[in-house]
């Protein structure tokens, strides 16, 4: 945390005094079809304005091949630094290596890659987030109740880690029973249809944990349609605006705030530092999480 503050200070200092230059930052986002990454991008744009530098945003539309091409294009454009929010941990390794070869520093945001030289990784600790969701659920249920879980895209690191944190935490309480665990691909429509099926199969449910808000919001639709909203509560993850509204309206109970805005801000800021030649001395900046209930 101290280092983070130091970094912030440095940015503020350097930003106003030393450089009035035209630096270009390239940001490759896995998809802009998900509000989470839109907020991340908006944070990056805002910070780039503050620092008076150029920001180029590319949308991989969840296709690793397209993201690979996007990175190649960024390298061709000779941007000064690349911020990568990868679609896949393995598939983007060659792209990272391309950037390395061209001498362009590269930072990863939210998700990591399994190879190449990455200057800095900025992300929330998803395992921790899963644990926080688990702790909140257990507490609300009074350590007793039936829980179902909606998983994200099978194999995606966020899904694996959030699930791991949540599952490990609730396993310690014998009163909590995990009745169903099914994948809905981080998608709202799928969240709804999967939840519909679960509602058919489970006569009694006390709580639903969805590994992201999109699925949680889909689940809320299904629960309302079945008129069983008084029977159970829903906990999501990511704190996207729709989810915050749903919490205000009483449709959702809580969400884990990932602070994507902060990720975007930190990405641009640290990219700026790296290009400016500042030794960061760290490889990972954890973006803090918090439980939001209102």
């Amino acid at each position: 945390m101290k280092k983070l503050l130091l970094a912030l200070f440095l940015v503020a200092f350097l930003g106003v005094s030393v450089f009035a230059s035209t630096m270009t930052v390239g940001l490759s986002v896995s998809t802009l079809n998900n509000p989470f990454f839109v907020i991340l991008r908006d944070g990056a744009i805002e910070q780039a304005k503050v620092l008076d530098i150029d920001l180029v945003v590319m949308d991989a539309q969840n296709d690793p091949a397209k993201q690979m091409s996007d990175i190649e294009d960024l390298v061709q454009k000779k941007v000064d630094v690349i911020l990568l929010n990868p679609t896949d941990a393995d598939a983007l390794v060659p792209a990272v290596e391309d950037a390395n070869k061209a001498g362009i520093p590269l930072l990863t945001i939210d998700r990591s890659v399994n190879g190449g030289d990455v200057a800095l990784h900025i992300a929330s600790d998803n395992v921790k987030g899963g644990e926080m969701a688990g702790a909140y659920t257990v507490e609300q249920l009074g350590e007793k109740g039936i829980v179902v879980e909606l998983e994200g895209i099978t194999g995606a690191s966020a899904a694996r880690e959030r699930g791991q944190g949540f599952d490990t935490y609730i396993a310690e309480f014998s009163g909590i029973k995990l009745a169903a665990k099914q994948t809905a691909d981080f998608d709202r429509a799928k969240g709804m249809s999967v939840m519909e099926n679960i509602l058919q199969a489970q006569p009694k449910i006390d709580a639903v944990f969805a590994q992201n808000d999109e699925m949680a919001l889909g689940a809320v639709q299904a629960i309302k349609a079945a008129k069983r909203q008084d029977e159970m509560f829903v906990v999501g993850f990511d704190a996207v605006p729709d989810a915050l509204n749903a919490i205000k309206a009483g449709d959702m109970k809580a969400t884990i705030a990932q602070q994507p805005w902060m990720m975007g801000v930190l990405g641009v800021m640290n990219g700026y530092l790296v290009v400016s030649g500042v030794e960061l001395g760290i490889e990972f900046i954890p973006v803090p999480l918090k439980v939001i209930t209102e």
């Binding site: 802009l32 180029v56 945003v57 590319m58 949308d59 539309q61 969840n62 296709d63 690793p64 091949a65 397209k66 690979m68 091409s69 996007d70 190649e72 294009d73 960024l74 061709q76 454009k77 000779k78 896949d88 941990a89 393995d90 598939a91 983007l92 390794v93 060659p94 399994n114 190879g115 895209i153 099978t154 194999g155 994948t183």
Partner: protein, 310 residues
């Protein structure tokens, strides 16, 4: 008479003129665009659509359509990667190509023997192959591929990326098949008028099955190259690529109802798509607008090409 010649030129070379126009426009808008290294990158990026487009050209010339190429690509890539992990690169590649060819031929069989329209048969294959990929990979990327496999998608011969060379070789072979062999002639005749082709003694079912097998084979090849490029086989690879391939073929002036069209047109169509992707990135067009622009360019290109036809 002059007007006629002008129209003839548009009809024949309209798409090429469009490509050159795009290159000039992007060169003016970004000094980084028209460099050798960027052009090589565009060609490498284009190779993926070009492989699929060449296969799709056979299918469409034969008055068919293949919606399954994206899924077949993913399945072939996954099988190739899976086999490669235990049995080596060569067998892996062979397995991937075999899977692609077999799936394509199967679509062809369904179309000809069960008399199911190509659109439906390959739509079904699109779902089957995608599902098959997810089953085979359990929804996870297949990783841990031999390091020398990277050559296929990321290697160079001299200064030229290997996928570009592979694309040119594929193009030349496909061109020879279409223009110089009996089979190629039969493809055009079958697509142009299947009844007349049958009445001329052509076994039209075999031609159609072969077309889909070729498309499947090239989908398999694409899947393998893509796996090499991405250092892994992605279960979601190739989603929506069938539309890029069809767009490349149509941009290239091939008649969607079969019988008329040239392979080089498809190659240029693929380049136009590749140049648009790269060039719009180069001049910082937002990714949302990029899709709008691509759609508009397709409309303009096809409209101009048609205006030369009448």
């Amino acid at each position: 008479m002059k007007n006629l010649q002008y129209k003839d030129i548009i009809r024949r070379y309209g798409i090429l003129i469009g490509l050159i126009g795009l290159i000039i426009a992007f060169s003016i808008l970004s000094e980084r665009f028209f460099t050798i290294s960027n052009m090589l990158i565009v060609m490498r990026q284009t190779s993926i659509v070009a492989f699929l487009g060449i296969g799709m050209t056979f299918v469409i010339l034969g008055a068919g359509i293949d919606l399954s190429v994206g899924s077949v690509l993913a399945f072939s890539g996954a099988v190739a990667a899976g086999v490669m992990q235990s049995r080596g690169i060569f067998l892996g590649i062979l397995a991937g190509l075999a899977v692609g060819t077999a799936l394509g031929a199967f679509s062809g069989l369904v179309i000809t023997k069960l008399r199911i329209p190509a659109f439906i048969a390959t739509l079904a294959m699109m779902a089957i192959a995608r599902g098959g990929t997810l089953v085979y990979t359990d929804g996870r990327p297949v990783t841990g591929l031999p390091s020398s496999f990277a050559f296929l998608g990321r290697g160079y011969i001299g200064d030229i990326p290997f996928p570009i060379i592979l694309m040119l070789v594929t193009f030349v072979l496909a061109y020879i098949i279409l223009k110089l062999t009996r089979f190629g002639r039969y493809v055009y005749a079958t697509g142009g008028n299947i009844d007349a082709a049958r009445a001329s003694g052509i076994k039209v079912d075999n031609i159609i099955i072969s077309n889909f097998a070729i498309s499947g084979f090239l989908s398999g090849l694409t899947g393998i190259v893509l796996s090499s490029r991405l250092n892994s086989a992605q279960p979601t690879a190739g989603m929506g690529y069938e539309l890029d391939a069809i767009a490349a073929v149509v941009l290239g002036g091939t008649n969607l109802f079969g019988g008329e069209g040239e392979l080089w047109g498809t190659l240029i169509g693929a380049f136009i798509m590749g140049i648009l992707n790269n060039g719009l990135n180069m001049i910082n067009v937002s990714s949302f607008y990029q899709q709008v622009v691509k759609g508009i360019v397709i409309l303009i290109a096809v409209t101009v090409a048609q205006s030369g036809k009448k």
